[in-house]
């Protein structure tokens, strides 16, 4: 990836042509503890190639912990995470450093927007291309012409993403000055600039009004449907998530308590129990989680 100078969206094309393996991510018996608090208690689940998987559950169920384990920010005490790359190679993510996981095409956004606030939108997105850029201090100086040509290619890729996410008006704005909703879009755009194999979205609609949520959901669907990207999304806005997800996994106390289509989940007694006091019908309509 990247080393031979490919700037075209490798993963997506391959995904379509060769057909993705059934599972691109497997979490087996994942256990994560912070001192005496168990965040994940032997969680086993999978992500299938090309699907839009929603991960829901009450507060503290371990949703964000799952994403942090996948992207390497947390190290599980037990269990394993296996990623099957676009080339069929299998990688044990639980043993890799975060920057290596990103280089394998796992991109993510954060619950509390983590952007480079002092840089422009364009620079933030160019940083998304980091894993595709090779060359250090010396080679950058030695092969200046070639580096420049590659830089232009990266720039073109980023422009496509800017176009896709409708960020043209803010291209040169410093990110810290943007409105909250737009920052969320920039963060997603930056993840897309990485040309991900797997996209992890942590509460992409948190803090948004109904209209913004709608438009964010639209973007997620577009990424998923038009580009065939595998997406895992964690969110509290169950109404939004139930509308767009192919499959839903419900967590409670660090365990998987339900797994199925949105319709199956709406009627699952275990889920209704977990969302204590919430009626089955409400699950699909509430603005926020309980």
């Amino acid at each position: 990836m990247g080393s031979n100078g490919t700037v075209t969206p490798v993963h997506r094309h391959r995904a379509r042509r060769e057909g993705l393996p059934h599972r691109i991510l497997e979490l087996s018996d994942l256990t994560l503890r912070f001192g005496g608090v168990t965040s994940l208690a032997g969680l086993t689940m999978e992500v299938r190639g090309g699907e839009l998987l929603a991960l829901i559950g009450p507060n503290g169920a371990g949703k964000t912990s799952v994403l942090n384990c996948i992207s390497g920010l947390y190290r599980p005490q037990a269990g394993g995470i296996t990623l099957t790359g676009p080339d069929g190679a299998r990688h044990a993510l639980h043993r890799l450093a975060p920057h290596r996981i990103a280089a394998l095409g796992v991109a993510r956004t954060f619950q509390n927007i983590e952007l480079f606030k002092h840089l422009t939108v364009l620079d933030n997105l160019m940083l998304g291309r980091h894993v595709h850029m090779n060359g250090g201090v010396l080679s950058g100086g030695l092969y200046w012409g070639r580096q420049r040509a590659r830089e232009i290619e990266h720039r073109q890729y980023v422009e496509q993403v800017i176009d896709f996410m409708n960020l043209e008006p803010f291209r040169s704005a410093v990110v810290g000055n943007l409105a909250y909703g737009n920052q969320r879009l920039v963060e997603m755009a930056r993840a897309l600039a990485l040309d991900p194999h797997l996209l992890l979205l942590d509460e992409p609609t948190a803090g948004m009004n109904a209209e913004e949520k709608e438009s964010m959901a639209r973007f997620i669907l577009d990424v998923h449907e038009e580009q065939g990207l595998t997406v895992v999304v964690v969110d509290h806005s169950i109404d939004v998530i139930m509308d767009i997800a192919d499959r839903v996994v419900v967590l409670d106390f660090g365990r998987r308590i339900a797994d199925g289509t949105p319709d199956q989940i709406r009627n699952d007694p275990a889920v209704i129990d977990a969302y204590l006091g919430t009626q089955a019908d409400d699950l699909g309509r509430r603005e926020d989680g309980p």
Binding site: L73, R100, E114, L115
Partner: protein, 290 residues
Amino acid sequence: MDIFLQLTVSGLSTGMIYALAAAGFVVIYKASDVINFAQGDLLLLGTYLIFFGVAQVGLPWSLGVAVTLLLAVAVSLAVERLVLRPLVGEPIISMIMVTIGLSSVLRGVTGAIWGPNPRSFDSFLPAGDIVLGPATLSTARLLSIPIALAVLAGLGLFFRHTRDGIAMRAIADDQQAALSMGISIPRVFGVAWALAAVSAAIGGIMLAGIVGVSPNVASIGLRVFPVVILGGLDSIAGAVLGGAIIGLLEVYVGFYVGHGLNLVVPYVVLVLMLMVRPYGLFGKEIIERV
């Protein structure tokens, strides 16, 4: 007028050496938030390494400079790898304290190898003087100014345009996001220490050519603080301007106001600056929105 011109050249050449040391300090601070108290000792190491290579081993100047830079980088990388990296994630104060210890060790080791007495040797900078109207200017000092400026400009370009330079700015802004973009923090810290060593070693080499080799060189390390506080802790341009101002102020005050006061004036500036504009002339004004 002739005296004024001589003082100016002298002040600027000293100032540029301060700037080289300060720039290394800035690079490390920018990348890792570590305040490096051993910066002056890296300078000291540079002067002794060039003395060792050229005067003791008998290498030609060009080779001597290359060997000095390589050894300085090797020492710096070893320090980063063996001393600082194990402390990543510890409170920043621990890392700062370690650099104070490092300063003593470097001073002790150079003292043990080369002894406490000042040494002198033929400079590679031409010895003569240039007579400009009524003023007689030292060629060595005059030449050191453009050399230092070229190195500092190179550092500035590095930050703005190279993959590692941009990664460094990204890490300074948001470490988690940088990790998820595939940026390797150990690599970036290593590059920062290597660059700090190069910049300090070049300062040391020029210092060896201008004032000779002695353990007193390490005292310049303390002068780095007024320079970076004046210029801004995270700005290369600030290091250049700060270095020039402090260098000039020292010679002017020493000559026109009173000898001895030149030793104090940098710290008077430091205190005033902290009261008036604590982020420096070019530093990032940090406004946290809460």
